[in-house]
């Protein structure tokens, strides 16, 4: 009896140890991007409809030197020399950027958002400092890349890249200059080099347009951003994809286009989005005048509401009138039976969560410190764009459509949130506890639901075969807020409807932009 017990105990102890052996502790930090071999050159992209630029010729690109010129020959010789002594670091840089500039920059922007998506810490006196774009390295760092800020940042980068690439495509097919690897047998194509004309270099266009916007959007990230941009241009050069003059022309075009967007960003209304204490009080007074319970910050110390004037920002594809007319109806009154029932539903849900429901709440949490819900949808879109092997300009179009819709969703949703200034469930019933962080802005309607419905609408247009998958993700992202204990069902339902209507604007634009 004793010895058999001993044997059993030993067996358990040993097998418990064996379970742990062989733990591989390496994590692949980014989505794998195979070298981009575009399914199509999209040679007509120079005629696709512009969004902000007047047309592809708004910025002229001078004709390049002939392939037979001495200057160009010297450029080719320089590439040959570099290729003959490439370092491992240079090869790894080529491999990285071969995955596609648009996809890589989208990853980088998601990383920047996650890095800067932290709210300011309170001061000892209970007030909160405001992130200062003139002093971005201080505490608090600038920006606080919260969901509306992030939606705007993703959209500026995506739209500016798209416009710059359309212009680049126009000039490429004006001049038809070949890539160095195509001209010179002594130069090896170290990343896929297609028949796409090399002048101006699309990699340099992307580098130039993106770096200038990111410097404005994430000024504290300037060192890393500048380095990445230079690396992208070098990778194009070293790989035999573009010559120095292709790159110089591309960089200049990219920066010229960026200036248009930097100027728009300076005047789009973000500057005043945080509002003033008098405006915050007016929001509460207005709710009370309507007989409603106004939203109150549940943070300790109470934090000013997140970007109350963001709803007044300039949308991409909607006029201010359209922003207003697409709004959902008012939420149930805070004193209505419906609100009482919805509050009870939140309480019951959060106290009876299954593990699967918890998983959905955390999968879609996308809270502070994350790349936000718009970043999550970029994450999703990136895989479809990669798998479709889209050309750089078509990939930029996909991200532009997606992110214009989500920025317009942010503008639309924030406008409604501060129109009604509706309290969170926790405020109406302090016995409710949340399993995710409680956002510091009014409840109605749900931002996740609005973003997700807008995104799913656009992605379903771009990738119709995956429409059911996008619908599933949209519904999971939306209902995750009820599971989290931070939204009523009305917030979610009206948010989804609102988001789908806003996404429709991007779809209608895409249906007639000449890219189909």
């Amino acid at each position: 009896m004793r010895s058999s017990l001993r044997r059993a105990v030993l067996t358990v102890a040993i097998s418990g140890t064996v379970v742990l052996v062989g733990c591989d502790n390496t994590i692949t930090s980014s989505e794998a991007l195979p070298p981009l071999q575009a399914a199509s050159l999209d040679s007509a992209a120079g005629s696709w409809r512009m969004i902000v630029l007047s047309g592809p010729t708004q910025f002229a690109v001078a004709a390049p030197a002939a392939e037979t010129s001495a200057a160009y020959t010297a450029e080719l010789t320089a590439i040959e020399a570099t290729q003959s002594k490439l370092t491992a670091a240079q090869r790894s840089s080529i491999e990285y950027w071969a995955g596609g500039g648009v996809l890589r920059w989208n990853q980088i922007v998601r990383e920047l958002v996650a890095r800067f998506n932290l709210p300011p810490a309170p001061r000892p006196d209970g007030t909160y400092p405001v992130p200062d774009p003139e002093n971005p390295f201080a505490d608090p760092q600038f920006p606080f890349a919260n969901p509306p800020y992030a939606a705007r940042a993703y959209s500026y980068v995506a739209v500016a890249q798209y416009e710059a690439l359309k212009a680049a495509w126009y000039w490429k097919y004006q001049y038809h200059r070949r890539s160095p690897a195509g001209v010179d047998n002594g130069i090896t194509a170290l990343m896929p080099v297609s028949d796409l004309p090399a002048y101006p270099s699309e990699d340099a266009v992307l580098s130039g347009v993106t770096v200038e916007l990111l410097k404005v959007l994430f000024p504290a990230g300037v060192a890393e951003i500048t380095q990445r941009a230079a690396e992208q241009r070098n990778a194009a050069l070293w790989s035999g994809k573009a010559a120095a003059s292709d790159i110089a022309a591309g960089l200049a075009l990219g920066k010229a286009v960026a200036a248009v967007f930097v100027s728009r960003a300076g005047a789009d209304g973000l500057r005043n989005a945080a509002g003033t204490p008098a405006q915050w009080q007016a929001l509460a007074d207005s709710a009370m005048a309507r007989g409603e319970i106004p939203w109150i910050s549940q943070e300790s110390p109470p934090r000013p509401p997140m970007l109350p004037n963001f709803g007044r920002l300039q949308a991409w594809l909607m006029t201010p009138t359209e922003v207003a007319t697409e709004r959902p109806p008012a939420p149930p009154s805070t004193s209505s039976d419906q609100m009482r029932q919805e509050l009870a539903e939140v309480r019951h849900t959060v106290e009876h969560l299954s593990r699967d429901q918890l998983a959905i709440a955390y999968e879609w949490n996308d809270g502070a410190g994350s790349y936000t819900p718009p970043g999550h949808w970029n994450d999703i879109a990136a895989e479809y764009i990669r798998d479709a092997r889209m050309s750089e300009v078509r990939a930029a179009r996909a991200f532009a459509l997606l992110n214009m819709a989500m920025q317009d969703a942010a503008v639309g949703c924030w406008g409604v949130k501060y129109l009604y200034f509706n309290p969170r469930p926790v405020q109406l019933d302090p016995s409710i506890k949340t399993v995710i962080g409680l956002p510091n802005f009014p409840a109605y309607p749900s931002g996740h639901s609005t973003f997700s419905a807008a995104a799913a609408t656009v992605l379903s247009y771009l990738f119709p075969q995956a429409t059911p998958a996008f619908a599933t993700m949209r519904d999971a992202a939306s209902i995750s807020r009820l599971y989290g204990g931070i939204h009523y069902r009305s917030d979610i339902e009206r948010g989804k409807e609102h988001g789908a209507r806003i996404g429709g604007y991007a779809v209608r634009f895409a249906q007639q932009d000449g890219a189909n």
């Binding site: 004793r2 742990l20 390496t26 998601r110 990383e111 932290l118 810490a121 502070a368 410190g369």
Partner: protein
């Protein structure tokens, strides 16, 4: 008597004691830990959105003397957490099941004052439920599978004094989150898997045993071999560098009758730390030994 009290005391992976052959000791421990200040990286602060965080647990522990040189142990805690302020929901559930084997390498008279023992301990831990590790500080654990290799030196003086030094290196497996991306170590990881840094710890314990009473006091330190600090005003993350120094004391008392029953009462306090709460811990428990 000595054998029995050793059985009652040999209840932790880092003590210097073995269960006598054929003895099965089991205990039920209640632990109450609370903190209102924590270290955000190296910055000590409080946070009005959580107030005081309390973690309570009930742990079942069993130890069995397989031979006079080999003991095996098992532990399973049920944990629940609570924050006194703010909207965040506490969590509860079965945490990690731990299995350990202690093997005595040597036991030898050392000077004319006592006996020196050396032992190695292998400890394996694995989550006993599918709890969420991504809601710190209210998660009940880190959900990593772990294996520790531990070495312990124990000197038992003839007059009741003892001194124990124990040190371990713990390998920790990746943790899988419910989300597809996270930011740590200054970068965005587009993965649901988190690499967990390994952990080094040591404990020095001095104590006195007389009759039915045993009073050890200890100093222990944990140093995580990597991981990043909590960012300014961010939530803690599962792979943060969690370091601390803790001091504590314990009183263990074996009842006159029944002699198989003992009680324990302990207290400890974190005196310095990084990415952890400055916890004060109270522990009480009952233990009972069977002779098979």
């Amino acid at each position: 008597m000595v054998a029995l009290s050793a059985a009652l005391r040999a209840q932790a992976v880092n003590d210097g004691l073995l269960m006598p052959r054929g003895a099965l000791g089991t205990s039920l421990l209640y632990t109450h830990e609370r903190w209102s200040q924590y270290w955000e990286g190296s910055l000590k602060r409080d946070n009005g959105n959580i107030g005081t965080v309390t973690t309570q647990s009930v742990t079942w522990v069993a130890g069995y003397g397989v031979t006079d040189r080999l003991s095996v142990m098992a532990m399973l805690p049920y944990v629940w957490t609570h924050a006194t302020q703010g909207p965040l929901h506490g969590m509860d559930g079965l945490q990690d099941v731990t299995l350990a084997a202690k093997y005595q390498l040597l036991s030898t008279p050392f000077t004319d004052r006592g006996t020196l023992r050396a032992m190695v301990v292998g400890v394996a831990g694995i989550p006993a439920s599918t709890y969420v590790p991504d809601f710190l500080p209210l998660s009940i654990g880190l959900a990593s599978r772990q294996f520790s290799g531990r070495f312990t030196l124990h000197f038992q003086a003839h007059r009741g004094w003892f001194l124990t030094g124990s040190s371990a290196y713990t390998w920790r497996s990746k943790v899988t989150l419910d989300r597809p991306a996270y930011f740590t170590n200054g970068q965005l990881y587009l993965s649901d898997e988190v690499a967990m840094p390994n952990v080094f710890d040591y404990t020095v314990t001095a104590g006195y045993q007389h009759g039915r009473l045993c009073i050890p006091i200890s100093l222990s330190q944990q140093r995580t071999q990597g991981g990043s600090d909590i960012r300014r005003q961010d939530m803690p993350f599962v792979s943060n560098r969690m370091d601390f120094v803790r001091v504590g004391g314990l009183v263990m008392y074996t009842l006159p009758a029944p002699r198989e029953l003992g009680i324990r009462l302990g207290m400890s306090r974190v005196v310095s730390g990084r990415n952890v709460g400055q916890a004060t811990t109270l522990q009480t428990g009952l233990f009972y030994t069977f002779h098979l």
